[in-house]
Symmetry: C3
Subunit: 331 residues, 3 copies
């Protein structure tokens, strides 16, 4: 409890990472695609996609947190606190905030809160993960169980805007690609993002390396018994987020990720589609800027009737990702 | 007629796009590869390959012009009016300049003239496309037919140099890779570019996404009945142009594209070769700078005797691309 | 003898090349990944990976030296004399320093010393290669044989640091990822780098194009009788070097390459692993900076007992690369 882990390797992000992100995912959100558009939103220049920072910061923790974990159990309370601009360097530090032995006595659950900071020492991203790990010595007594209290979702009042000057007052809906504002969406509404992408081995490996994620199951056909490379969950997140442009073109910035489940594995050759459900709407006290809380679901293959779970309450077999997040949207 | 379409999403181009272009196509033209070489040609820095601007500007129009078109029929009068430098942002606007109902009454042809501008509002690229589309209501009366007059080719006197200071006076033929000047080529001469490239799925999808072209047939094996991903025509153009370095290393800049036909579809696994025919030569009134009008032909597999068309006047089965363009070449 | 070859095409390297390198190889060396880390080592900014400069400089010589060679026989005395920073432009010039006719009278060996310089005219990299080529006219008398004397290895005293201000005094071992210093390694020690990467066609072709290496066997399934694309040896070097992070995370900079053999061909689908042997250790007269001379071996598949050669003295069938180099390491 309380142990702090300084993760290697700090990573300077650049326009090269943006270009690769654009080549790997069909993203078209104007805030990240166009420098003048970002300036019109009050930013000093166009930031890198929020998920670039997320993947890099998250990837740093893999060797120390999850590389040898039995299972990745979940993440929560992920808040985006500052944009990442080309030239920024991210470093990540984690603190153990929870420990609990499983009933078997052989494994336990560890909760860590991680913070990614830029070269100026500003917090850029913070989140909590929990993983199941083996006990080093099954016979050793376990420390007292400490289970952290985690919010089901980041509250709208806790969302942080990218900049003090951030605003959608000069927002150009023609350039952004769709006319929809927060009020054009209804809670409970389901949006089919229509397009699908068939995934290749080269693409998911390039993406995963770019975030310096070293988990061997993503790169090595000899690492799993079935001889298949498991696609990094973050690749599916970015694919689904990019596909969501069709119908959510104005869901420009990710402000928080409340929860995420990688319901089924994804492999090269799968064709990934996405749909979203509007979970909540919020005002943010800044003129023109609101937020949508969205469930983003990636599926393998397309279904006419989007269904998250089967009658047994379990994720449907074609569901790859169930992501709950807040996006900033013009009001 | 006269309707104006403002296309989403503006796109800021960077050194990241240049690096990806170099990774995806075997390009070695010195003007775009070397900053000092470009400065020696009178430019403030080395611009991005002309086809990067072309693909991005063109890709912007896809959702509004051709995504649901029955057929892409052609393009013409494509003129390159200003270089694209890293940091420049391109936006594209189109105007409907022609309409004609087909005899079936169910479809018609639409001509649009598109202009891509940079963040300073300067025209960077302009071209005309025409596509066949379905009528929204087959029973509605068609507007009066208007067929725009289009030039067979951009006149040499209309070609625009990249900069007022542009010149080949300090041109280093050793660094450029070949000693040939305009006068070393003869009209009618055919140049075999020798090398071939076998195409992969990952590469053409990354290229096509980079230009934010969203046409699903390029990405999704479930989009076509044959389960194959159709390679974006622009990918074949860039491949062929890069291959043409062997024999045309000094055809540095593209000044205009007069016409282009994608004669047959290209798929992953195809090995693409190229040959060129010299169609015309021109002086441009600037010391040291001339132009070659070239037919650039991409083929699937290599043939000893380049043939564009069969005895029936149709494109030969192995011809993928027939592109007619003007390039700037030292005199 | 003495002939000088000015190679096309000069190449300006950028952050785009760094990002692609990171996407193509699982590299995590802090000196190249983090701008603040590089500044803490006394550099003005973080340089590009040394092998980027090596591949680009080397690729320039391919059309003039090895494209039509019968065999690449070896390289030696490769010294890294200055870092390559984003924006630098590399040009390469070669001089013939040795000639020797083979006993057949049909072929001969040519030695060339190449120098890559940046836009300021500073030497960045120098090396010697020798290749077997056909005589233009088998009946012509051969010039007198001249075989240059080449060192088995660059001497530690000849190693050049990246900058006058270069130092490991402020080195952060947590951020670098491992605690090991020069004295933690023993000559003769073998390090298993554990991870493996299964190679794809798209990745090796993108890498090879990025260095503007044009050798057709890497790109064209019609170029070899077996219909397979041979993976560029430099791709295997970069893969192995990146994999060596596990155990050699502090072997930050490459100062010299003493020798390299591409023992067996590598093809897409191969899973590449790596191990290293410590060949020598050196002090460099700069506080905190030492050097390790390392043998880096890439293998196809993993073996429990690393073996370079079989009982017959020949390379084992699973050995792809045997590279002898000097790396700068904290003392």
């Amino acid at each position: 409890m309380g142990e702090t882990l300084v993760h290697a390797t700090p990573r300077t992000l650049t326009e090269g990472d943006r270009a690769l992100y654009t080549a790997l995912y069909p993203t078209r959100f104007a805030l990240y695609s166009s420098d003048p558009f970002a300036r019109d939103c009050g930013l000093p220049e166009n930031p890198l996609e929020d998920l670039i920072g997320f993947h890099v910061a998250f990837g740093k923790t893999v060797p120390d947190v999850s590389l040898n974990a039995v299972a990745n159990l979940g993440y929560a309370e992920c808040r985006f606190l500052a944009p990442v601009y080309p030239g920024d360097t991210l470093s990540t530090v984690s603190t153990v905030i929870g420990l609990k032995e499983n009933s078997s006595g052989r494994t336990g659950i560890v909760w860590v809160r991680s913070v990614a900071r830029n070269q100026a020492g500003e917090d850029v991203l913070t989140w909590v993960r929990w993983v199941m790990v083996r006990k080093r010595d099954a016979d050793a007594p376990a420390p007292p169980a400490t289970v952290p209290e985690l919010a089901d979702a980041v509250g709208a009042e806790e969302l942080v805007l990218p900049d003090e000057a951030f605003s959608f007052q000069n927002y150009d809906f023609h350039l952004a690609g769709e006319p929809y504002r927060v009020d054009d969406y209804e809670v409970g509404e389901v949006i089919d993002h229509v397009d699908g992408v068939t995934v290749t081995e080269a693409e998911h490996m390039m993406a995963t390396r770019l975030w310096q994620n070293t988990s061997k199951v993503h790169f090595n056909v000899e690492a799993r018994e079935d001889g298949r490379r498991l696609i990094y969950g973050g690749h599916v997140i970015s694919l689904a987020r990019a596909l969501s442009f069709n119908g959510l073109a104005n869901a420009q910035a990710i402000a928080a990720i409340n929860a995420g489940s990688h319901a089924n594995p994804c492999f090269a050759g799968d064709t990934v589609y996405a749909w979203s459900e509007v979970l909540d709407k919020a005002e943010l006290g800044v003129p023109g800027v609101g937020a949508l809380r969205l469930r983003l679901v990636a599926t393998k293959g397309r279904t006419d009737a989007p269904a998250l779970r089967g009658g047994d309450g379990k994720y449907a077999a074609n569901v790859l990702l169930d992501l709950d997040y807040w996006a900033l949207v013009p009001t």
